[in-house]
Amino acid sequence: MDLRYTDEEEHFRDELRTWLSGVLPDVPPLPEDHTDLVARRAYDTDWQRMLYEAGYAGIHWPAEFGGRGSTPTEHLIFLEETERAGAPYVGVNFVGQLHAGPTLIAEASDAQRSTHLAPILKGEHVWCQGFSEPGSGSDLASLSTRAIDDGDDYVVTGQKIWTSFAQVADYCELLVRTDADAPKHKGITWVIMPMDAPGIEIRPIDTALGAGEFAEMFLDEVRIPKSNRVGDENDGWRVTNVTFAFERGTAFISEVISSQRLLADLAAVATRVTRRSGTAWDDAGIRRELGRLDAELDALWSLTKRNVSQAQRTGMVGPGGSVFKLAYADVRKRMADLAEQLLGRAGLAIGDTLDLSDLDHVGERLYTLTLTIAAGTSEIQRNIVGERLLGLPRGDR
């Protein structure tokens, strides 16, 4: 039980810091227009290219597939340091780096790996995810996008939703139903869909935060060569779950760091908000909630280290990821409540808090709504924790 980093780990951190402090001054800020996804793609892939050239792309990918082959602890240090330094987020490269890439490494043929892995690392190919459907959200395995067997091809028809960055993606990790008669988990296949194939229509979906990266995808007899299948036909559910461990394990780690920054800013806001004779900071209830949230973020960082240490020993990310996500979502939503309470009427506009803060606490408040929904709702996470961690019996859903 030792929270200190080894000399090698500190050396890795020092090197990374040196590199970041050298390159970040020349990295422009994120494009202001959130709706310009072409600009966003260019921005995010430029950063990916810089990571690649510096040897930091695919930090957790094995070296034989072009990654750095770092340990989970070094991966944690990478996420921590890039976030602290204010480096660009993984952005459009998320699916390629954290879902599709790791799945290809684990399950794909040599030919598929050599076609796809290097371009993901270099920022040349952007991937999106075609999993959820309008009728299949939490019950993902009920998906109904069907693939008809037609010689060397699958002919795919159906609708996908929540496909972030579909508008600017080159490939899609797509789940299709190849056997309509088999039990729902046993008729699904994982395929690589080139996004320039005829028959794909993409429509953006505006969120509660306004226009953004979400899209839905309509597939009308899209021809996908069978050579694009990853894993066996009808084995796609198992292939899919290889990726989920990665998503739950790493997606929210850097957010703990950014949450600490947000919380410190909320404390500063409390000292600026005038209340009767003083400021909101004079309210012991506010101070206590700030202190509790500080403690809980600190504990979540320790939990992250425990999960990472476990991954380092066993190579697996266990249900600890679900526990982390449940607790993290709760903390962030309480931070949003506190922000609402502190800002009062200064919280009536997104991006303008009447000079109380430079940070967008109103946008952040809206964002927290996704934390109990995206990547498996909190209800689904509680089922996972209850059944896999505690061994409680399955019941009706």
């Binding site: 929270l3 320790s302 449940l326 509680r382 089922n383």
Partner: protein
């Protein structure tokens, strides 16, 4: 960095769990509601080195660290082992007989006005902590009224109208260390209580059937249990971090790490205790089912060695400094 338990730490936890199962089974524990502290069993606990765990080997201790103490105290909390466990460990090496269990030591912070002293009726010596240092008083010299019905039936309390000065046994620095270590050990007990309450609730949710199936199959119950283990796991990370940090193997200052653990412990243990009562339904409100014992002990520990809200205020001050 390796934040997993070592093989030795796992073995230590299993050893203490086995000891608790054999000698502090719930029947023996509950017998102390009436009979008072079982000094025989207290001595057995001391013999295994539980109280002298962090005392140097040269001083007759086991010479392990506070991380190990955290792991051990988690198991003691889980088994609802009664008695002034924290004071015994803090007093080892400071008060003759504390480490071997022949002298039972309890502790109370000095306060203005009347005080409730835990375990006074079971103890030989009371250690009073204040900003100037640590002060010792024979328990028998502490005039007061033993409560007829303490909140936790296994934590007797004595009302004292005015604490005596006592004989000084430690300076201000010793008192600081006393409070810091005591806070971490109490948080570790809380962790065990939260974990024990969760185990009890989950076990019941698997067995108890209504509407033709175990109640744990219903999401309303299952999700409550999931929230319980979530609190336990977050708290466990905080408590182990505090233990490791006290040993100089941490990332933060020991004061911060311990505060974090105690703040989380205060809310998590009581919340798990309440949820344990709720999962048991009507049976959860009975004396017979142990659920109330977990909750009551959690409430007692909330107030010992730093109350959550006060610690949270101190932590908040660090956000704007």
């Amino acid at each position: 960095m390796d934040f997993e338990l070592s093989d030795d730490q796992v073995a230590l936890a299993e050893g203490v769990a086995a000891l608790c199962e054999g000698r502090f089974d719930i029947e023996s524990v509950r017998a102390m509601e009436v009979d008072g502290l079982d000094r025989g069993r207290w001595g057995e606990l001391a013999e295994t080195g539980v109280f002298s765990l962090c005392l140097a080997e040269d001083d007759g201790g086991v010479g392990l660290g506070w991380a190990e103490a955290a792991v051990v105290f988690e198991q003691l909390g889980r088994a609802l082992v009664p008695g002034p466990l924290v004071a015994a460990t803090l007093a080892a090496g400071l008060i003759e007989g504390a480490a071997d269990g022949s002298t039972v030591v309890t502790t109370v912070p000095r306060s203005l006005g009347p005080a409730m002293v835990e375990h006074a009726a079971w103890a030989d010596v009371v250690v009073i902590s204040d900003d100037q240092g640590l002060w010792s008083v024979p328990a028998g010299a502490l005039d007061g009224v033993d409560a007829n019905q303490p909140l936790d039936p296994l934590t007797p309390v004595r009302r004292i109208d005015a604490l005596p000065q006592g004989d000084q046994i430690g300076d201000a620095a010793a008192a600081d260390a006393w409070r810091l270590r005591g806070s971490m050990l109490t948080a570790a007990l809380q962790l065990g209580i939260a974990a024990g309450a969760t185990e009890l609730a989950v076990g019941y949710a698997k067995e108890r059937e209504q509407f033709g199936r175990p109640i744990g199959a219903f999401q309303a119950v299952k999700h409550r249990c999931a929230d319980m283990i979530t609190r336990v796991e977050v708290l466990r990370a905080a408590v182990y971090a505090a233990g490791a940090t006290l040993d100089g193997r941490g990332a933060d200052s020991p004061e911060r790490a311990v505060s974090v653990a105690k703040i989380l412990a205060s809310s998590a243990a009581a919340a798990c205790g309440k949820d344990c009562v709720q999962v048991h339904g009507g049976m959860g409100y009975t004396w017979e089912v142990d659920a109330h014992l977990f909750l009551k002990r959690a409430w007692v520990h909330d107030l010992a060695f730093g109350e959550g809200s006060e610690l949270a205020e101190e932590l908040a001050a660090g956000l704007v400094s």
